[in-house]
């Protein structure tokens, strides 16, 4: 399976607030982070939980600066996110 993202890529987490099960934590929605590594491929839980067909897709460790998640803080938070939760960060948000 080809991964859409490489370590170092800037990505933005989806802003969507779906009515069904998801493993994109609320605190990371809409935030911009950096791909740390590819962790292998797994079926999307959002689809599995609804008994929909779900093939394996890439999962990444994505690092966010606390200030981008919460507005302040000097730490980072690294989350494991399915590719469907991510899109390339718009250029103006890339630093």
């Amino acid at each position: 399976m080809t991964e859409l993202f490489r370590p170092g890529d800037q990505v933005r987490a989806s802003r969507a607030d779906p009515p069904h099960h998801t493993r994109l934590p609320q605190y990371a929605r809409g935030a911009t982070g950096t791909i740390v590594e590819h962790q292998g491929c797994h079926p999307l839980p959002d689809r599995r939980a609804r008994h929909l067909p779900a093939g394996p897709e890439p999962v990444y460790a994505v690092r966010f600066a606390a200030r981008d998640l919460f507005g302040d803080g000097d730490h980072t938070v690294t989350l494991d996110l399915w590719e469907s939760y991510l899109c390339p960060a718009p250029a103006e948000e890339t630093r």
């Binding site: 292998g40 460790a61 606390a66 730490h75 980072t76 938070v77």
Partner: protein, 198 residues
């Protein structure tokens, strides 16, 4: 969130019992087989396993490099594995250094490397720890009595998907003469989660 066995958790427990009953009824598993498998797994699941990994990593640079690069491939060197459940789970070991400190959490539920750390402590599953450690880890560590140098950068790892995490603590100063067993005895479960120095 499984705060108690009410609501969705109770429904799930009932479904699991029903499934277990059907498996036994159809002769796919013996009565008690699942209980025995669980008991055997839990008997081996202990923070002593994580402590052995840390002690070996402190003493053996090659092992440390292999553990950090691909923990699942390195575990069998100490007779350990992440194969205790239904499928092998990916393990990522994150190393504390003079400038970087790591803490693990599962904000969505309570994912945790049981085989290496034993059953998770109650506080690890509490909404308070799960919500606050991502927001203000330094304050949470202070509440554990662990005051981290302000110059040290904290990275919180939220096990929100299929990987499990373990922290490799820093080797304490003044332990140059200790052997592997004595070093392992210094390592605590909280150190392997990242809420204690070691």
């Amino acid at each position: 969130m499984s705060a108690g066995h009410a609501g969705p958790a109770a429904t799930l427990a009932a479904r699991v019992r029903r499934l277990e009953g059907l498996l036994e009824q159809r002769g796919l598993v013996d009565a008690g087989e699942l209980d025995r498998a669980l008991e055997a797994f839990l008997a081996r699941a202990s923070p002593a396993n994580g402590a052995r990994l840390a002690a070996r990593a402190w003493l053996d640079e090659g092992f440390r490099a292999r553990l950090l690069a691909d923990a699942n491939a390195a575990l069998p060197e100490l007779g350990l594995s992440m194969r205790g459940g239904m499928q092998e789970q990916r393990l990522k070991v994150v190393q504390n250094t003079e400038l970087q400190h790591n803490v693990i959490v599962c904000t969505l539920c309570s994912c945790y490397p049981l085989a290496l750390l034993g059953p998770s402590p109650t506080w690890y599953k509490s909404p308070a720890y799960r919500s606050r450690v991502v927001r203000d880890p330094r304050a949470v560590l202070r509440e554990f009595g662990f005051v981290l140098d302000p110059a040290v950068q904290i990275n919180v790892w939220d096990a929100s998907a299929e990987s499990r995490y373990m922290v490799l603590p820093r080797r304490p100063a003044g332990t140059e003469n200790l052997d592997e067993q004595a070093l392992a005895a210094l390592v605590t479960r909280n150190g392997l989660i990242g809420v204690a120095p070691v």
